[in-house]
Symmetry: C2
């Protein structure tokens, strides 16, 4: 038997929903998390700062692909970069990203286990 999930939205959230700019901005952060490569980058940065080449090794894509994705994340204010010699070190710039990933992963873990059985 399926359950319906109806949720109380407090007034603040309801106000956000009536603001087009805020809703659009919300879709943008979800978009950032919707790509496999970017998700890997961001989850890695949740643990600590990483250079571009470290991220490249971690994500198994070319250096160019990583740099392009990092630019997108920079433009959206989700990461920031500092130079350290030849390296450029990226860090998480937004505290909400980790929360979102945690909830998204919890959902996913349930979804995958349900599908498996």
């Amino acid at each position: 038997m399926r359950e319906e999930h109806v949720v109380e939205m407090d007034e603040t959230i309801a106000n956000y929903l009536s603001n087009e700019d805020i809703v659009y901005e919300a879709t943008q952060i979800f978009d950032a998390l919707s790509d496999y490569t970017r998700f890997q980058i961001l989850s890695s940065l949740c643990v600590g700062s990483r250079s571009v080449s470290e991220l490249k090794d971690l994500c198994h894509v070319t250096q160019s692909a990583i740099s392009h994705q990092l630019r997108l994340l920079r433009d959206r204010g989700l990461v920031f970069a500092r130079r350290d010699g030849q390296r450029v070190i990226y860090s998480l710039a937004d505290e909400h990203v980790a929360t979102l990933m945690r909830v998204g992963l919890e959902h996913a873990a349930e979804a995958v286990s349900v599908e498996g059985e």
Copy 2:
């Protein structure tokens, strides 16, 4: 001065990250929330069940566009449908969606207000 956000990931989350299927599934729920129309549909369903035509009026797109998006959301297990006469009533099928939207909107409200000043 910018702050770095480094977050302790508990072991369970770290395990999720090493599971490709779970990570992919996580990107899929973020993808669902990354489109303006779908975000409106889901936020509306957070408040309560809605028929297709109610959702259509709310989102200012064609009935066809709504139905296509509802199919995507159904296929991903985020909403479910029950028939009531001529109408089909959609409801939220996943409790995590509301949490994600709340956090995403909080992030967005900050981002928009920072950009405004």
